[in-house]
């Protein structure tokens, strides 16, 4: 087991180095000069040269890469040419905001998707199943940014029951930073009022982001549960008189949850990298906005930071998913 984890971590290192090389060199092949853009239209040649030297863009590409990786090992993620500030503190602020949103979205996806799939499977081809099917199809077809605007219009503008934008009431102080995720920090410091406030700000964007996961999980649970419900051991269990609720919740659901787990793992990566539109609409200060701004201004250093961090997070979640396979299905063994 320990060996498995170590092996996977070593592999993660290889993946991250590959990712860093790919991002670094591909970004720099594009014929756009971030220094020129950052210097502005009236900068003289001398001023541009000064900036180029300050940020090390006058050095050969390979040397820039080696220097970047060296700094990275020392925990220095570099400085943004456009924003003129260090990338590390920015990531430390923006990443937890997005992570909080993504985790909340996945939680909503699981909490609503699993019961939806379960009901659909139990009432196969009957009305609840049809409703669940239409609902899932609808959820997966609705673009999340469209739903975001509609929710904002209805809940914040017309009914004024949820806040418009942002992460926290601008007149109040957010909970002290422990993880950077406001709801988690509020709970850890037992500040339930702040938890409530943070939750109100999070609910609409998190719901919008959960749509894909919700619908897919519902359909996966239904299909897998139907498979399991048709197996001999379930038929036997039913024959010996085990109540249906125990049968489904205790015996069937666990065996039907492997694919759902895979979906959750996949959706983590998908939502983490695809949150930008929803973040934009709700002015959620997350990593999506940060990355897109950097991409539009060809600001390479923040882009590298975001890519490596999200890459690392996704790989880590994959390892965790693999680990959960072991827990759910003891027959699975990872051998080297």
């Amino acid at each position: 087991m320990v060996r498995f984890v170590l092996q996977r971590l070593a592999l993660t290192l290889v993946v991250l180095i590959g990712l860093s090389m790919l991002t670094f060199f591909v970004a720099r092949i594009i014929p756009a000069d971030p220094i020129l853009l950052a210097a502005g239209p009236r900068a003289s040649e001398a001023q541009i040269q000064l900036l180029r030297e300050r940020y090390g863009y006058d050095r050969p590409l390979v040397e820039q890469y080696v220097r970047y990786m060296g700094d990275l090992l020392r925990g220095d993620l570099g400085t943004s040419v456009v924003l003129k500030r260090d990338v590390g503190p920015d990531l430390a602020r923006y990443f937890p905001a997005t992570l909080e949103l993504v985790l909340a979205a996945l939680l909503i996806g699981v909490l609503l998707g699993v019961p939806l799939g379960l009901v659909a499977a139990v009432y196969r081809d009957r009305l609840p199943d049809q409703i669940s099917r239409v609902f899932s199809l609808g959820m997966v077809s609705i673009p999340n940014f469209w739903l975001a605007i509609v929710l904002q219009l209805i809940l914040a503008f017309t009914l004024t029951i949820l806040p418009f934008t942002g992460r926290f009431d601008r007149l109040l102080h957010p909970p002290p930073t422990l993880t950077g995720m406001y709801t988690v920090d509020a709970l850890l410091t037992l500040n339930f009022e702040a938890f409530g406030t943070a939750l109100r700000y999070m609910i609409a964007p998190a719901f919008c982001l959960s749509l894909g996961a919700l619908a897919t999980i519902a359909r996966t649970v239904r299909a897998d549960l139907l498979d399991v419900l048709g197996t001999d051991y379930i038929r036997t269990a039913r024959a010996v008189g085990i109540p249906t609720s125990v049968l489904i919740l205790k015996y069937a659901l666990k065996n039907a949850s492997l694919n759902t787990l895979t979906q959750v793992g996949l959706f983590f990566g998908y939502t983490l990298t695809g949150s930008v539109l929803v973040e934009n609409i709700f002015s959620w200060p997350g990593i999506g906005n940060y990355a897109v701004s950097a991409a539009l201004t060809k600001d390479f250093v923040p882009l590298m930071g975001v890519t490596l961090l999200t890459g690392f997070a996704i790989v880590l979640v994959n390892i965790v998913t693999d680990f959960f396979y072991l827990v759910l299905d003891p027959r699975i063994k990872y051998t080297s």
Binding site: P34, G40, A43, A46, Q47, K84, S283, L296
Partner: protein, 521 residues
């Protein structure tokens, strides 16, 4: 007697209530919330230089002169008076003696010298305005309250660019100098004497400024904004909902469609103006078919200018030449749609049977996309096929440096950092900036260069105006751009800001001059 006592009592009570409410009004919080597309990446006056940063700098710092009103005029701010030497090279500015920094220390000549030298040393942002005009060592303190600028050569709009020299408190910068001249420190900290202090700074999220009630110049009205919060709101539909719901009092970067739709609704004012923004289509004057001056004339005569104006819902006005109306000199003959003249010019060109051109615009800018469609439609009439391509701004700028990769046709909005023809004409038509994003068509004409250089070095207003008239005439003859419209303001203002139309100033960095705002409701 009883009646009199009763009325006396009523009067006393009424007066008490009124006085209490008056005190309440004076002490009341009058916050202003702005939803803005853009982030303030820094408010170091030696680094930051754009509309949002410029506006913010004016709240936190003071400059010797400041733009006020529309059309904008340069008013002394920290300056009390000034004199210019006969050769136009030496400006001597006497400072007001009552100005103090936010820490209470006086704003003196040494601080001005320090700020000017630091700007040139750091060399970013507004330093570009002073390139070739003022060199290090050119600013000296004559006495504690008098400062002297000795320019490299006479420069007509020098007072205009002084509006961008913000005075920093040398003691604060020196105490936090670090190894980068205080650039890191001043990213989100103030060393100024301005009317607002930074009270909260969340990069990429929101920025909050609190009024300094004891601001040395006082306040222009008693209902000034006590707190200003800029909330970064990248999505335009959210900004629109924000102003509609009253959550925001002020929004920027809104489309004309939004401005038209909201104007007058619940006291909202869309697109105040007139602005100093000019919108034109730059043609590649060095490479490709548009290098042929006759073809450029043909395009200028074939363009449907009325259809172009319709893009701004009747809120733009036709541009007669390269300058906005309030800065234009003598009326010059302009290009109007005349297909006969267009065909005549085409016949005289190397492409009598027409040709194909590429119009490149910036992804997401709807006005520019529609411009392409009108152009496509207009030029089809004379046998010119236009293909429309959208690219990201950074990618477009990357193609400008080399004329062979620069697009045939490229639309561009130009605002101005100072209200003088020099800023527009030099940036767009002086050959030294060919390939820069302000001159993507690589336009250059030695005669125009000479006129612009001469005008820039002239202080006498009448002589300068005459030189600019000549330059504009020469530019129009070369027809390097399609001069389309002066476009409406992209800010939309909510009903709580009661005097925006009166204090609006269209210079970059003055459109959000919160200091002048009166807040009601």
């Amino acid at each position: 007697m009883r009646l009199r006592s009763l009325s006396l009592l009523v009067m006393v009570v009424l007066m008490a209530v009124l006085s209490v409410s008056a005190v309440g009004a004076q002490d009341a919080e009058r916050p202003v919330v702005m939803y803005s597309l853009v982030e303030l990446y820094t408010i170091d006056p030696a680094v930051g230089f754009d509309q949002a940063i410029g506006s913010t700098l004016k709240q936190v710092y003071d400059s010797l002169f400041r733009y006020v009103g529309n059309p904008p005029t340069v008013q002394p701010w920290l300056a009390d008076s000034y004199t210019v030497s006969d050769d136009g090279k030496t400006y001597t500015v006497a400072l007001r003696q009552d100005a103090v920094f936010q820490d209470g220390s006086p704003v003196n000549a040494d601080a001005v010298v320090y700020s000017a030298e630091r700007l040139l040393r750091v060399g970013q942002g507004a330093a570009g305005l002073f390139t070739g005009v003022l060199s290090p060592g050119g600013t000296t303190a004559v006495d504690a309250n008098t400062v002297q600028f000795v320019l490299n050569q006479p420069y007509g709009p020098f007072l205009d660019i002084l509006t961008w020299l913000f005075i920093v408190n040398p003691a604060v910068v020196e105490a936090n100098k670090g190894d980068d001249d205080g650039v890191t420190y001043l990213t989100n900290a103030s060393a100024g004497s301005g009317p607002y202090m930074i009270s909260n700074w969340l990069p990429g999220e929101s920025y909050e400024f609190t009024a300094n009630p004891g601001y040395w110049r006082g306040w222009p009205n008693e209902n000034y904004a006590t707190k200003v919060t800029r909330v970064v709101t990248r999505e335009s539909s959210t900004r629109r909902l924000g102003i509609e719901s009253g959550e925001a009092d002020f929004v920027d970067w809104m489309s004309v469609d939004d401005a038209v739709a909201l104007d007058g609704v619940n006291g909202i004012m869309g697109a105040p103006g007139p602005t100093l923004t000019v919108y034109d289509v730059k043609m590649n004057t060095v490479d490709g078919p548009t290098a042929d001056v006759n073809l450029r004339h043909a395009i200028a005569y074939a363009t449907d200018y009325d259809a172009m104006l319709a893009i701004w819902g009747g809120r733009g006005s036709r541009l007669a030449g390269p300058l906005p109306p309030s800065l234009s000199g003598d009326a010059q003959p302009m290009y109007n749609r005349d297909l006969d003249k267009a065909r005549e010019a085409l016949a005289a060109s190397a492409y009598p049977d027409g040709t194909a051109l590429e119009y490149v615009y910036v992804t997401g800018l709807e006005d520019e996309r529609r411009t392409g469609l009108v152009l496509q439609d207009s030029l089809k009439e004379i046998g010119i096929d236009v293909t429309i391509t959208a690219v990201g701004w950074a990618d477009a700028v990357a193609t400008f440096a080399d004329p062979t990769t620069a697009p045939d046709l490229f639309p561009l909005y130009s605002g101005t950092a100072f209200a003088d023809p020099d800023n527009y004409l030099w940036a767009s038509f002086h050959s030294s900036l060919a390939g820069n994003w302000t001159n993507p068509g690589h336009y250059g004409n030695p005669a125009v260069d000479a006129l612009l250089e001469q005008a820039r070095a002239t202080v006498d207003a009448a002589t300068r105006a005459d030189l600019y008239n000549q330059a504009v005439a020469a530019i129009l003859a070369d027809s390097p751009n399609l001069f389309l419209a002066t476009t409406p303001e992209d800010h939309i203002v909510g009903p709580r800001i009661t005097n925006y139309a009166a204090v609006y100033s269209p210079v970059m960095g003055s459109m959000e001059d919160f200091y002048f705002f009166a807040v009601g409701g």
